[in-house]
C-alpha cells in the first residue's frame, strides 16, 4: 500500500516533467526539453521496475495457504496472537521422499509444476500439533472481516485438503479467489506493458531531441504527441490505483 502510493506519486511526477518538456518545446528550448524528457524516462523506468518487483513478491507469496477439494482457499490463523501465520512457521519437517516429476523421466513426457517447499502432510501435522491454530476463510462476514472458524470447523474443513498453495498465479492464489489474481495480473500487466512501451517511445523521442531533429524541424510537436500518450497511461493508473488498491 505505502509502496504503491509512492509509485503513484512517481508516475504523476513523471507526467509533470512530461508537461514541462512540452512547455519547453513550445519555447524551442532544446536542452530543457531533453532534461525533462530524461526525468520522465527515469520516472517511467522506476515505475515499471517497482511493478515488476511487486509482481515478483506476489507470485512468490508470503504466507501460503491450503486448497481444499471444492477450490476454497484456507489461510492459517493463530488465535493466540490474533494474526495470520505463515505455513513454514508451524509445519513440522517430516522426512519424505517426493521429488518433482520432470518430463525427462517416465514415458509420457509430462512434467508437473514445482512442488512447494512445505508439503501438505507437513502442514497438516503441524496444524494437528498446535492447538492455537485455526483456519480463516476467504468469505467475509457482515462487518467486512474474513470469517475465522473455530478449531472443530477448521479440522473438518482440512479433511478435504488437496494441496499447499504458495503465492499467486493465474490458476491458484494464496490470498483468495483465483479470479481476483487473474484480474489483478491482467489489468496491471496491460498497464505495465503500456508504461514499458511508453518508456521506449520516450527514449526514441529523447534521442531525436538530442540529435536536434525537432530543432531543425522548427517545432516540438512529436514531444507533445508522446506526451499525450504518457498522460493517458498516467490517467489509467489513477483509476487502477483506486480500484485495485484502495477500494
Amino acid at each position: 500500500m505505502y509502496y504503491v502510493a509512492l509509485m503513484t506519486f512517481i508516475l504523476i511526477f513523471s507526467s509533470v516533467t512530461m508537461v514541462l518538456a512540452v512547455d519547453a518545446g513550445h519555447n524551442n528550448n532544446k536542452n530543457r526539453v531533453a532534461f525533462y524528457m530524461l526525468l520522465t524516462i527515469i520516472g517511467g523506468a522506476v515505475f515499471v521496475g517497482s511493478q515488476a518487483w511487486e509482481w515478483k513478491n506476489f507470485i512468490k507469496g508470503e504466507y501460503g495457504a491450503v486448497e481444499i477439494q471444492n477450490g476454497e482457499i484456507l489461510q492459517f490463523y493463530n488465535l493466540e496472537e490474533g494474526k495470520r501465520i505463515p505455513i513454514d512457521e508451524f509445519a513440522l519437517s517430516l522426512t519424505q521422499e517426493r521429488i518433482t516429476h520432470d518430463d525427462n523421466v517416465g514415458i509420457w513426457y509430462q512434467s508437473e509444476s514445482k512442488l512447494p517447499e512445505t508439503s501438505l502432510d507437513e502442514v497438516l501435522a503441524g496444524f494437528e500439533n498446535n492447538q492455537n491454530l485455526t483456519v480463516r476463510l476467504e468469505q467475509i462476514d457482515e462487518s467486512g472481516h474474513k470469517i475465522i472458524l473455530n478449531r472443530e470447523e477448521a479440522e473438518a474443513k482440512l479433511k478435504s485438503a488437496t494441496r499447499v498453495v504458495k503465492g499467486a498465479n493465474l490458476i491458484r492464489n494464496e490470498y483468495g479467489n483465483p479470479l481476483f489474481a487473474d484480474f489483478f495480473f491482467f489489468i496491471t500487466g496491460f498497464h505495465g506493458f503500456h508504461v514499458f512501451s511508453g518508456v521506449i517511445i520516450n527514449i526514441i523521442i529523447f534521442i531525436n531531441v538530442l540529435l536536434g531533429t525537432y530543432e531543425r524541424r522548427g517545432h516540438y510537436d512529436m514531444v507533445e504527441k508522446v506526451g499525450l500518450y504518457w498522460h493517458f497511461v498516467d490517467l489509467v493508473w489513477v483509476f487502477v490505483f483506486t480500484f485495485f488498491y484502495l477500494v
Binding site: Y2, L20, D23, N177, L179, H231, F241
Partner: protein, 130 residues
C-alpha cells in the same frame, strides 16, 4: 496549441497562475494532496465511512469521486484540453459520458452473476481448475 496560449486559472478562476510552468506545479501539488488524502483514508479506514450508501460504502464513493477529480485535472491541464475549443472538448467528453455508464452496467451485471454463483451456485468456488 497553435498560438501557444494557455488559460491559467483553475478552480473556476479562484486560483490564477502567472505562467504555464507555474500552473503545472500548482496542479501537481493539488493532485498530490488528493492522492495523499486517498492513501490516508485507505490506511485509516474511518469506521463512519464504512456505512453503505446506494449500494456502495461511503469510503468507496469518496475514492471514486476523488479519482474522477484527479482525472479531470490530468486531462484538462496536463493534456491541455482546457485550452481547446468547446467542440473538441465535447468530442472527448460526450462519448465517455455515454460509454462509461454502459461499460459499468455490463461489468456490474456480469460481475454480480459470477458473484451469485460463487456464493450459492452449483458446486464449485473455483472456475479455473475443473
Amino acid at each position: 496549441m497553435a498560438n501557444h496560449e494557455h488559460k491559467l486559472e483553475i478552480f473556476r478562476g479562484l486560483l490564477k497562475f502567472k505562467s504555464n510552468v507555474q500552473k503545472i506545479w500548482g496542479v501537481l501539488i493539488f493532485l498530490s494532496i488528493v492522492t495523499a488524502i486517498e492513501v490516508a483514508l485507505g490506511i485509516l479506514k474511518p469506521p463512519i465511512l464504512l456505512n453503505y450508501f446506494l449500494g456502495l460504502k461511503l469510503i468507496n464513493w469518496m475514492f471514486i469521486i476523488m479519482t474522477i477529480i484527479k482525472a479531470y485535472y490530468i486531462t484538462w491541464d496536463f493534456m491541455h484540453v482546457r485550452d481547446e475549443k468547446p467542440f473538441l472538448k465535447n468530442t472527448i467528453i460526450v462519448p465517455l459520458l455515454i460509454l462509461i455508464p454502459f461499460l459499468l452496467f455490463i461489468l456490474l451485471w456480469e460481475g454480480s452473476y459470477i458473484f451469485d454463483i460463487m456464493l450459492d451456485g452449483l458446486k464449485e468456488w473455483d472456475f479455473d481448475i475443473y
